[in-house]
Symmetry: C2
Subunit: 407 residues, 2 copies
């Protein structure tokens, strides 16, 4: 099993050892300060020696257990980073329904403090982009196969009804994307960030278009090419292992599902210029991305351990930098955040069911990190801390746009 | 017939007299400069003495005739204002299909020059807002009855199919607004800018909600109140002659159709704070407004003669100033610009059919000004110079949002 080279899980930043001594009044005071930062969260706080902060709220949702002093103190000076660090290395335990506990924290935080400013966003040049993608998406197809759907879609699904299966919901999502783009047989589509290639193959098979699909993840591209060949679609779908900046040619549709989050804010105008030059006069596009109601940096632990270089934008950031400079016209926006909460719920349950396999592939620290990432993401979409936007656009001068949504 | 007090149509800025003398080489050179500003427009340019600029393009769409030198020269130094001024006072004639000619000009202009900056937008305090509204919407219900639909809706309709009647399309628009808001019987709705009251009455009648509807136009409020009484809905729909800033109380839904264009950019945050304080925890809202792909001031002639104080925003301006400060979450955006082009086509044809009546109510200058406004608006929506956005939003923390659009 090949790991991303830059992963440093092997160097723990926290010890999971329980402190040998009893907690002091200072420890207890610090625990109180931490709880005061999330005053409305229905959570119990317990220290390594069994000391528990007095709890006077409603029925608690879960218990946070600090195993040692370092974990406790680290939460005071950098909670956003060290919450995840301490948890992944076992220095903190979260006992209870993990998603429910994280929802409590998100909701409490929203009431008490502004979000981290998005001022110093990384610029992801081609090398950084490739490295960032490698660290996450090249963890191995076998790993993702354990908990993704059959089609290996690693983006928000669309559940026609809340009880649809994940497999059906991912098919429904792909179909929805194609219908929003009004794809017609024979049209040319370019896809920026194609994952394991399912959408490109679906568009070709179900809508009769030809597709050029770009991705810098070599593991994903290899998988996609093999699938195209096996399904007899290699002549209709070309998988290109390259950066979106190197897209050439003109297309009837530009589609990008789950890539914009990995384009740094500083590269949005470059991304927009690629979109612009790729579209024919009557071309239209669809961007599907994780976003925010208000601009703000991604959690620093997620950036360090899960998605280096990622940034979930607010809609104005996308519109002003990607679409507006080129007079591209927003035709349709849909917010699917509750669908992403459901998608993550499916992934998380499958991941937990396969956690022994994951631990064998990687280690227990990896399992804990990904458990927190998946549960935290589910909580973020459930509480409205994150959004999932699908944006359809066309050239400003084009009247080849759908008359109604039903078309 | 009562006119807005501030209308100054009685003082012509241009004479319609034809110049007594033959055009000079300088006149002809100026005409050439004007045509050079819209090089791709398939239009013929003719001066008062019959001189015509050589035309080498495809089949021309129409002919612009300058009646005198003042009209000609005025277009060089301030075309955005004086195009309309010269036309309305008969100093310029536009011979041909007016909408098609204006489409030619819009398309040609987009290629040649950036839009006027939106830097010095008026701030519309309550007095200015009342005055602005008075000048347009208090032109008299009898006037608007001549060319609006039966329900007196003066906003973009929704045509389920392109050949629907205007009456049906306005009903469909109201129903669409209600369904997007998921109105339930017994809920409370506040409407900011209610026109002649049709939507408020429709919501009450068809969806069983109670409505408080605000408008500063006394003519419109009087009409709406009479209608509520006649239809036995006075207990369910309250029409309030007051500014949106004075909305009090909390509501399950906030709706504003065609008012945001009249809220100055400088007042968006105040408008947002009204929205915020008016919504219950599970409340949702809908804004329906004329907008742009890129920020830019409204044409100065339209601001002078038709809509003082108006500004069509780009989406980021609305999102950043109205929704973002309050963590309101964009759920859905739909761009209906082609529906507005159709709506305007209906209005314009009815207006032309009633133009003799309009001339009797006002005068020929008024007819020409409104002819240009209606045709120009149709051309703007047809060419993508203007957009019509419907935005649905809810509080960021609310999960009482539609699962899918079909709900």
């Amino acid at each position: 099993m090949k790991l991303g080279d830059a992963r440093v899980f092997s160097v723990p930043t926290f010890s999971s050892d329980s402190a040998p001594r009893a907690s002091t009044p200072v420890d207890r005071w610090v625990a109180g300060r931490i709880r005061a930062s999330v005053p409305s969260a229905r959570l119990r706080f317990v220290l390594w020696d069994g000391f528990e902060l007095p709890y006077a709220g409603d029925a608690p949702v879960g218990t946070i257990v600090f195993r040692n002093r370092r974990a406790l103190f680290s939460w005071v000076w950098n909670p956003d980073l060290n919450f995840g660090e301490a948890y992944m290395f076992g220095a903190v335990d979260l006992q209870g329904d993990l998603v429910a506990m994280l929802c409590e924290i998100y909701r409490a935080l929203r009431r008490t403090r502004p979000r981290e400013k998005a001022s110093s966003q990384p610029v992801n040049d081609e090398r950084a982009a490739r490295e960032n993608v490698h660290r996450h998406y090249d963890l191995g197809n076998d790993f993702y196969r354990l908990w993704l759907d059959r089609e290996m879609l690693y983006t928000c699904a669309y559940f026609p009804s809340a009880d649809a299966t994940l497999e059906d919901a991912q098919i429904a999502k792909m179909d929805r994307v194609c219908r929003k783009l009004k794809l017609e047989p024979g049209e040319r589509v370019v896809e920026a960030g194609c994952g394991w290639g399912s959408l490109a193959l679906f568009m070709a098979k179900q809508y009769g278009v030809s597709v050029r699909a770009f991705n810098v993840s070599s593991e994903q591209i290899a998988y996609a090419r093999a699938r195209a060949k096996a399904e007899g679609l290699a002549g209709q779908v070309e998988f290109v292992e390259d950066d979106y900046r190197n897209v050439r040619g003109q297309y009837d549709a530009f589609v990008s599902v789950g890539m914009l989050e990995h384009v740094g804010l500083g590269d949005y105008q470059a991304f927009g210029s690629v979109v612009e030059r790729s579209l024919t006069g009557e071309g239209r596009g669809l961007l599907h991305f994780i976003g925010r109601n208000q601009p703000g940096a991604l959690n620093p632990w997620i950036r360090r351990r899960i998605f280096p270089g990622a940034y979930p934008p607010a809609l104005p950031e996308v519109f002003e930098r990607v679409l507006q400079p080129w007079n591209l016209s927003v035709l349709d926006v849909e917010n699917l955040r509750l669908h992403y909460a459901s998608t993550l719920d499916h992934w998380r349950r499958r991941f937990e069911a396969a956690s022994d396999d994951v631990a064998r592939m990687f280690d227990e620290t990896f399992v804990r990190a990904w458990r927190l990432y998946l549960a935290g993401s589910q909580a973020a979409f459930t509480t409205g801390t994150m959004q999932l936007f699908q944006v359809v656009f066309a050239r400003g001068a084009s009247n080849e746009i759908p008359w109604t949504r039903l078309d």
